[in-house]
């Protein structure tokens, strides 16, 4: 994994002139110190949200889906919007860990641990929606194809919802394994530094007896590569399959072949935005600016502007096809229900356009890409925009489909629908706060690989140049 090529010009991946011990110290500090007040406040808010979510779901399960404002025309609303949104967010982690690993992008080491954690938690949040959107959630096990006593009844393998079951559960499992296997050496580090018995025991168990022997490292490396290889197609497949929920239907606005690539791009887009949001907070709160550098942020902003533009292209293609196909249903959905600002849901379409297509174009400017405030603000905007995208796809397609007689009155969510969504935020941040407190938020072992790769050379080079007299510098670069 060591990059043998050492760049003279590339910015260092870790700044602050760290040595190996300092890295360990920096990253283990939050685990070993008492949580800050800020942590407690944040954790309390997250748990409160989670409790509200639990109550909202309790109401829905006890009294029925009628607790939400869905209706006979709009069978899915916030529930599936949130599902797709969370799944999308859950893409960046694996993309960073797997695809960037395969592409040997060394910069990923600073952010991959937290990004993967985010993935796991986001997929956990996403999973709540397809489960609890069921009218009879207590019968949810019907979707599992296991040998049963119900005679010839079996799941329907034609249904995209069943594909979802497999896609999401596979993705979750592989992501979790990948994440955890990366954590093992770091847990071992924490274990070795542990001062209390309990700590030693717990981190000892968690690190599965890691000794750091060469054999261990060798197997660890192989496992990482295998899991990376497994995860890579999953990054593409999961959102492709989620998009099939819509693409295989007959509903205008859903029945679209462009969906798989468009959904994947959108997922990466929103995932990176979410990583940005979290990383910017994390590096601030845990003083990790040396590990999560401006370089990381810029790199991720580049991904955002790229995927944002792909998504924008997809939107325009849909609009074009809505006209070019001369299919009146598509024409109605895309041009009247969506692109028309004055139609009932026009605001959501243009909200989506503004957030996802127009505003990320700011990142063509290097200055803005490297501006923390702009990045943070944009990361929020992008996630709002991506939420709108899913809302637009689901609700504006359903609420006026084929029969004008069934066109729906205006749909807006009930408090319990919003509560469920808020609850998944609670779940996400509860998990994330626990993670930040008890897990090494940066891959200690991996960051050490890249510590000396470019940093020292860069430093040495820059120092040399700085000390150079002007004539010599000119002379040097004239060659």
């Amino acid at each position: 994994m060591h990059l043998k090529y050492e760049s003279q010009l590339r910015e260092p991946l870790v700044t602050g002139n760290k040595d190996y011990h300092q890295v360990t110290e920096d990253i283990c500090r939050p685990i070993e110190a008492k949580p800050t007040k800020l942590w407690y406040v944040g954790f309390f808010i997250a748990v409160t949200l989670l409790m509200f979510g639990v109550y909202s779901v309790y109401r829905e399960v006890t009294y029925g889906i009628g607790q939400w404002n869905l209706n006979k025309t709009i069978g899915w609303g916030w529930d599936i919007t949130n599902f797709v949104w969370w799944v999308g967010i859950g893409h960046a982690g694996t993309l960073i860990s797997a695809i960037l690993l395969l592409f040997r992008q060394g910069w990923r080491t600073g952010v991959n641990r937290a990004a993967e954690a985010m993935t796991i938690f986001a997929v956990m949040c996403a999973g709540q929606f397809p489960i609890f959107h069921m009218g009879r959630v207590w019968m949810a096990f019907f979707v599992l194809p296991y040998p049963n006593t119900r005679g010839p009844l079996w799941t329907n393998f034609n249904s995209p919802l069943l594909w979802d079951v497999f896609a999401i559960s596979t993705y979750f499992t592989v992501s979790l394994l990948f994440w955890y296997s990366g954590l093992i050496p770091d847990f071992a580090t924490v274990r070795d530094r542990a001062k209390t018995k309990l700590r030693k025991l717990l981190y000892g168990v968690a690190s599965f007896g890691w000794t750091g022997s060469t054999k261990h490292w060798q197997r660890h490396e192989s496992l990482s590569l295998v899991l990376a290889g497994l995860s890579t197609p999953l990054v593409l497949s999961v959102h492709t399959i989620v998009s099939f929920d819509f693409a295989t239907s007959v509903i205008p606005g859903w029945h679209t072949t462009i969906f798989p690539p468009y959904f994947v791009a959108g997922a990466v887009f929103s995932g990176f935005a979410m990583v940005q949001t979290l990383m910017l907070m994390l590096r601030k709160i845990f003083v990790l600016e040396d590990y999560i550098t401006l370089g990381h942020i810029e790199a991720m902003n580049k991904v955002i502007v790229l995927t944002g533009s792909i998504v924008g292209c997809a939107y325009l293609t849909e609009l074009f096809m809505g006209w070019y196909s001369q299919n009146k249903y598509e024409g109605y959905t895309f041009w009247y229900s969506r692109a028309n600002l004055f139609s009932p849901y026009g605001w959501s379409y243009w909200g989506m356009m503004a957030c996802n297509v127009i505003s990320p174009q700011l990142f063509w400017s290097r200055k803005l890409r490297r501006n923390l405030f702009v990045t943070f603000f944009m990361s929020i905007i992008v996630n709002i925009g991506m939420w709108f995208e899913r809302f637009v796809i689901i609700v504006t397609s359903l609420y006026r489909d084929y029969l004008p007689s069934s066109w729906s009155p205006y749909y807006s969510p009930s408090i319990w629908e919003m509560g469920f969504y808020a609850g998944t935020f609670g779940l996400f941040f509860t998990c994330f706060f626990l993670f930040a407190k008890y897990f090494p938020v940066i891959a200690i072992a991996e960051i050490k690989y890249v510590l000396k790769v470019s940093g020292d050379n860069y430093k040495a080079g820059v120092e040399k140049e700085e000390k150079m007299p002007v004539e010599e510098f000119v002379h040097e670069y004239a060659h």
Binding site: I65, R136, A140, L153, S249
Partner: protein, 1044 residues
Amino acid sequence: MEQKKYWQSFGELNDSEAYQQSGKDEFQEQLPFEADNKGLMEAVTPRRDFLKYLGFSTAAAAVAASCEIPVKKAIPFANKPEDIVPGVANYYATTYVQDGDVLSVLARVRDGRPIKIEGNDLSPIYKGCTTARAEASVLDLYDTARLRFPTVNGKEVTFDAADKAVAAALGNVGAAPVVILTTSIVSPTTKEVIAQFLAKYPGSRHVTYDAVSYSGLLLANEATYGKRAIPSYRFDNAKVIASIGADFLATWLSPAEFAKQYAPNRRIDEKNPQMSKHFQFESVLSSTGASADERFLCRPSEWGAIAVALLGAINGQGVSGIADKKLAEGIEKTAKELAANKGQSLVVCASNDVNVQIVVNAINEALQAGGKTIDWTATINNRQGIDTEFAALVEDMNAGKVGALLIHGANPAYSWFAADKFKSGLAKVNATISFSAKEDETTSGCKIVIPDHHFLESWGDAEPKTGYFSLIQPTIYPLFKTRQWQDSLLKWSGATTDYLGFVKQYWIGKLGSESAWDKALQDGVINPAAEAPLTAGAFNAGAVAGAVSAVSSAKKGGKVELVLYQKVGIGEGQGASNPFLQELPDPITRAVWDNYLIISPAKARTLLDIDLNNNGQADKYETVPAKKVVKVTVNGKSIELPTLIIPGTHPDTVGIALGYGRSEKVGKAAKNVGKNAFILAALKGNTVDFTASDVTLELTKETYEVALTQTHNRYDTAQGNRTEVVKEITLAAFKHDPEEIRREREAELKPFGGIENYEKEGTIYPVYERPGIKWGMSIDLNACTGCGACVVACNVENNIPVVGKNEAMRYHDMHWLRIDRYYSGDMDNPNVVFQPMMCQHCDNAPCENVCPVAATNHSSEGLNQMTYNRCIGTRYCANNCPYKVRRFNWADYTGADSFPDNQRGEVDDVVLNMNDDLTRMVLNPDVTVRSRGVIEKCSFCVQRLQDAKLKAKKAGRPMKDADLDVACKSACPSDCFTFGNVNDKESDIYKARTQNPNRIFYALEQIHVMPNVSYLAKVRNSDEPAHNGGQHHAAPAAEPAHHG
């Protein structure tokens, strides 16, 4: 002697310690728990024991939890009645009678409970159809609001005590007359019973009161034909029909009969396309107006003038006295058509003004309608009330001149425009006796209440038309301590027989023998041996000139006028307590659970500042249930109502439905529903006028949410052009080019092989043969009048839950069958199409492949089936249904949920009331009651299909059409449904499809879902050019609208 010792083992022989121990221990081996005598809690638990404990405790917990299942008792018959087979329905012929409305019906009785009303095919008047109200009436039997015992001054008493109280009260009246106040009595025996009773009290009288009276018509007939009666209108003989405000297909006089007569002339034989022509002059869009070929807007104050102008034009004097040019042209055109078809034309009018009706009689006389389209032999007895008689009674009551008042059916404390005056009069009457089955507004003011039976518990007879009789027999033992009111009257008049004896005696006397009576009872109807020839009345033209001049000089209307109309379900208010009827969408407004002010789009622009031609404003109006509230003032009386903008309303006329705002004592369904509009009526001359010519409208700042089951109303707007959903054409265009619709379909399907090869070419998947039975339905849009009988029939047959206003407003209505109503063309006076829409049972159903658990799948007979207990409620199928016919159980509407008691506070009281043990007796045991969280939808009445197949199987022959009857089809008064086995070349459905190649279409055919419900295009007998998308909008040259 030493006893010999027998031993079985050495252990026993030696009597070892181990042996003794084994004798004490019950079990030979150690118990599986290694308790070591230390007690279970202290025991060390090895792994295997842990698993044992786990297994045991889980099993125990599961067993304990399962014990919670409530015990339901099903008690078998000790001695099984001969004619009751559990699970097999019995049918009893009886008669639905409510306030003069009559329908000959069969009651389907399952295990002793009547659960469904079907039409009686033997009735030549109704020919086996039903109405929404008759279908729903079975629920009234199990209504929790029914009075359960007689009361005197509000206290429960026995019948004996009640009889004594009545005797005492009647003994006290002295010289003051005893008055029996009823709605129109159609029963000949009841009339005799009343006569017997009244004979005992000299000076007493019987007053008939109809909430919406036809006194104008009755008096006009008296003036011109010398008979205070209503002749039969024979729409079946009429080629040209003109109606002035009369909603004769839904609410006017005898709508089921009229619809049955009207429909055959509206159906088209493609080889020889002919249909009647129907002109409608009206102020507020009614379902009759919606079915009309040409519809002209007028103010209600102009009804008289229109009649006069028609009369003049028919007599060749031209149209005069009509200022509105469009209207005048319409009258001229109508007069021309009417006059050209003398003897085959008919004019009816809703006006309750004697003079107007005299003029209408003169018109019909001029059209030589007598004996052809109007029959004076079999007069209609549905309405007999004369307003002045009742008004005089109210005066008498207030003057203290009434000794006793016995009330049956009539509810003037609610429906008389001056209800307060009636109530104050009622308080002044010494003896007030009500026979009402419920505590209605009038009964609340009565001292003695002896509740009557429901008609399904009663004996009796009815004569809806002179010479045509229909018998009533009980289908269940009375549920409560109620007594038939005729029994009470007989008892009080000292008769020795009860009413059953009386009826039987009467009819045996008429029919000649007991066996004839038995047969009549079995048939349910007694018809004249041969249909009597139609006769014309002797017309006396003397009154006409006076009537014409009176009408001509009548006061002109004010700026805004009002029409008080009835809804097909609620009627005069009888339906208000019935949840099925409250939840039956109005055919035009599609609203449920409310009445409201209907205004025109033009008026909305000025009054509400809403312009429906502006897409943004129209969207806003449609998508938000909160509607602006307007204060309506008539003669100083005012009510505030939300407004609905209904195209086809006269710009200066507003409409309000009667029958709302009832006391909640008549049922939970009536609680806080609408406002009483009867107060806006007034006595004008001799009759009550249900229109008002000077109305003030005042916009308030408030809004009120109205539950609409359909919010978007057009299929032909530029953006939402959906001509594949509904197809309509004019008769002229159809005659000119019969293949237009077929060509349009061909063009739509051309990219996929055209009509012939569409099934195969439209898909990349293989197409399978479908041998054996393949169920299919055809719906003739030409015949449908939107009356809603099918919708209620479907509700009752299939145990469809009532959801209440709040849920309906959230677009959660559960109807499996709905009647979509679309407007097209001119928004000020649009064309209307009714389209019954239910599961289309697509061969290539998009709902089936998206269900993750295969809860919905296809039967080998082409049914799209729903497996409720497999459904987990993802709602994907509902999303993916292009017809949006799948319904989700959003809450526990039925009480069938596995979570107990989770409805309180979540659904309306009326829904809870529907789950009462009493109300649940109406449920059809053949159909699963769905629980919360599952999808449901039309099953093509699969329980009936199974029944039909079994019937044929038992008879050892192939199934035929006659074995079959689905609920919607059997209810329909205009026979717009055809249902059967498409593969059977003898079946009606096969014929309906093959004989109408030019009118048949499938809704949304081009998305290749291959529906099994076909429609026959609406044909309108108007002169306008064809009105379907092909001509109205430039259709895109190529239409690659394929979605499948």
